[in-house]
Symmetry: D2
Subunit: 340 residues, 4 copies
């Protein structure tokens, strides 16, 4: 951490600050210039409140050098984390070379639908089933999901196919209903719902944490830190597209450089959602291939047996036939990465 | 609402669609072109799920003409809403010509602090007291607020000064603790925490809804709609700066055109937060004056008796002396607007 | 400037770097930590190529502390620059307490139009006339301006009214045609047309430099630096709205905090364009008042005698009657600022 | 094109508008609703100035349905354009299944450097040589390129290796110096320098048009239209990363969904620049592979024989050894796409 002092600071002001910094366990190094004084702070600065420092009258600016996340930081945990999802023989590993494809409909709509999709995606090679029971919708007048009934239908599909289930939670008040969900998803809009993150940090269940609409990589990792610092280190990150100024043709901009960059910053697995990122089913195949080529640990893809009549996000869902083709292409790309 | 059909759609496909649209209570008008067919949909389209329509195989695109919000829409409620905050003789009106300044520290820190600030801002002319008891912080290692104790200190300050209190809620699980808060704030990060919004919609307490970091005006109004459609029509909107590509000097970009634009779209009061928008106390005065000139119904300003030792956001807090000066300037600008 | 070395750098690598830095006239101060070494660079770093330093193998990151602009920097030029536009008795001062309103149509269309508008805006109190002769349009099929004929019409209007003229240049090849223009405008799309900026730097004519669509304040000031470092210090900056993710209701987001922030960073005058920023004539009045309240040195406002038949940007133009009203309101706000 | 009329429009106002629209060669279809009247406009609307329509008093909003570009539009030119670059036996095809890799240093620095890099990238398989002679730099104090001398060195490298040369133009005044350049690049900052685009439209030389920092896909295609409508249809589009709110780790966000989306909208070839997009050499390999997987027609990659001493953008340049490895990986991905 580096602090720049304002010009005109007195010796005694400076010494007071240096003593305070030492009391926080830091080792300050001072460089005096004609116009400015620079203080380099050596030590564990991850728990220093940067706003507090900035607020001091004699300080012009403060810059962090090392990242403020600790549990999620590759510097302190150099090997890849492998998250295990599900139980028994259907357990699936994600990260550290283990690649997983999560597939299923945006919303669970009926027994017939979820069972058909689950069987189809399993046949193609998917190893986890997704399906929304609680749906975050911009409008209160849009379909909000089947709630408890949707969760029960997912359990049924899991029983039929053995696929572990992945579904989104929207409130800590629903935690009990999610007790046996295999992978709990936190959606983009709740990425900074810190009270929810803390509750999820007290579970053992793996968490799929989606990047917020306009959140930085650092903020994503700080949200992972909220979960991990409470004790749950089973966090999978998900890039799902960010908001940009051009929404004429794609809903969001898929930030694929986030994949290698997050892998450099953190040891956590990172998966990509090409369906929500683009909002167009015909862009899912090229974006799924591109994400795999960028080195992600898995994909989450929307598949619906009848996209044109889906109650939600049909426009971005693949049919099972298209998914089968996309899956094969993903595996071809994956094979190239495994070569070295 | 306007739907464009893909080229090559058959007569029977088109007729099926027209029949379905009529069954939804809409009146479709068809314009046939060489390359495209345009269908104009007349009627109440606010409850139509646009994604559902987009998902139909024969449709190229769908555009809304009228806005999908109803309770918050000025079209159906032409006169300004006036929200009343607090009880008895200390009741404050906001909107419809009533201008209010909410002031106080980012976080409640101690009895001494909150009482001192409350008395000071009241003396300057502020009519509501703000103070955070639950603080949303990017890092789990930063100060998170005094929680229940902070709420009790706010109550004490209200008792001392008569100022109604404004404070942020971060989880529906805390609702009971907020039972007598005069104005409950929903922070930017929770603007699309729909489960929380629905719970707040079941209260009578006025809600201060802050615009999310990268949310559109339409999304802000749809979030207001979540609260209002559950029965609570006492919603005050708040512009507090949006995220942009330039964060070198100001934390966010204060979008002041949102003020007259929201007033055109909606009848709800709109206030502005110049403190969070800029993150710099020396920019609060010009931005508070500018916001007032833009026609807002009130301001929310951070004031701290000792900004350099504040536990949170000291850098953007005014001292009581500076606030007194800013308040006078705001009133001068306000006087010009009242002239006509 | 601060450089962070990678871990594992050898003593001899570090000494080579320190010697090189000293050879550049800088005074390096070293702080050694357990994981990192920080080098504080004291001296004139404005002419150091930051990318060159970043490219060195042993360097992890480099951060500028002082700004890389020099001529435009208030640190080296503490008093406000006053730019004089026009000649003789019609000369207008901008900056340092001198406030100017530039008004006129988006495009010059005919003698009748420009003379009528010029007379009207002069009568209201405007002191400079704007009018486009070369129009940057997204589409090659849209009206591109009257070119040389448009410039002649502006000269005629200047002769009639005495108002100095302001018009946009799109290519250095047109410089001769602009020889007697009083204030040459560089549009947002050409803010980083560096070859054009250098040519303008060799003139004496004042330059109105508009901020690019998605350019930072630092980039704006570096573009001013391109002009000033060639010898022309008569630069006026212009905030005209930046691109954001929400374009549903306003074309751009007017960044009014840029006004006080640019005044802190630079001594150059800063004016605001509320017409292009919003794209809606009914938002011009509140935004012009807000910009004035934020402390700008002037405004540039579109006025057309027949907005509904304007060949370009009619939607954002005021009628002369509306402009007269807006001008009065601006002056009322300006009076408040002059009080202290 | 669809126009919505304001409520309260009279019959005679509406009829005047309909007559005017018919006079423009359009066929208007009217749908009357309780609150609104919708007019569907059938015909060639590409040459209608949308701002002109919007400015009419009786119109609430206008929406384009078909895209306003014509020469660049796949609708009117369904087969892929193949651009031929260079002459004689070294001619290279780009587009329509022909994939090309352009490689070379950011700046031409010396004979030794450019010849060494040219030979190395040719040996690896690159078929075009890039190198900057005129460099757009944010600061006037940064290295601006060798200008004419740089162009001569590129010619020398072409003579040595046979590789066609690609270099950036910054002003129409330099056109003569560029007379035998094989592929003229328009940089991001000049994407909307319309006077330059028109001049380039009068040449036969192929143009590499880079997307601007914050420009939409539609604006990119309209800029291609500027070149094409003057007669030069040899345009190659280039995605090179767009500006976002997160610049902590990557300079820009590479928008890879732009690749399939542009291919759907236009018949022009589209290449990707992973070097400028990320600004980090270690991200070039994953992003080059991802771009190839997304279906682009080629890549432009920075290669320097001594990146740590490069005068410009060394941090993002690959060594020839790394480039050789990246090239092989790109070819492996390309092979998968060629399978079907």
């Amino acid at each position: 951490m580096i602090a720049i002092l304002k010009s005109g600071v007195t010796e005694s002001q400076k010494n007071n600050l240096l003593n305070w910094l030492k009391a926080q366990g830091l080792d300050p190094h001072v460089s005096e210039g004609k116009y400015q004084t620079i203080i380099g702070l050596i030590g564990d600065t991850s728990k220093i409140d940067i706003d507090l420092l900035c607020g001091l009258e004699i300080i012009e600016s403060v810059t962090r050098i090392s990242e403020p996340f600790k549990y999620a930081n590759r510097r302190f945990h150099p090997t890849d984390t492998v998250v295990e999802v599900g139980i028994g023989e259907n357990k699936v590993k994600i990260g550290g070379g283990h690649f997983a494809v999560i597939a299923g409909p945006c919303s669970v709509e009926s027994e017939e639908q979820i069972i058909a999709v689950a069987k189809a995606v399993k046949a193609s090679g998917a190893t986890l089933l997704r399906g929304g029971a609680f749906k975050p919708r911009t409008s209160p007048y849009d379909f909000q999901g089947l709630h408890g009934e949707g969760l029960d239908l997912l359990r049924l599909a899991r029983k039929e196919t053995g696929l572990p289930i992945v579904t989104e939670i929207m409130s800590a008040a629903h935690l009990e209903m999610f007790h046996d969900v295999d992978l709990i998803q936190v959606g983009a809009r709740n990425m900074q719902n810190f009270e929810l993150l803390k509750e999820l940090g007290r579970l053992k269940t793996p968490i799929l944490l989606k990047r917020g609409l306009a959140n930085t990589l650092k903020e994503l990792l700080m949200s992972a830190e909220y979960i991990m610092s409470e004790g749950n280190e089973n966090v999978i990150l998900c890039e799902r597209g960010i908001r940009s100024y051009d929404q004429a043709y794609t809903r969001n901009v898929l930030d694929l450089a986030a994949v290698p960059m997050l892998k450099e910053l953190s040891h956590l697995p990172i998966i990509v959602d090409p369906s929500h990122a683009t909002g167009k089913s015909r862009l899912v195949r090229p974006m799924a291939m591109a994400a795999t080529a960028a080195g992600c640990d898995g994909l989450i893809i929307e598949v619906h047996n009848d996209p044109v009549h889906a109650l939600c996000d049909g426009a971005q869902s693949l049919t099972p036939e298209l998914f089968d083709d996309v899956f094969k292409k993903i595996m071809s790309v994956r094979a190239i990465l495994n070569e070295n």
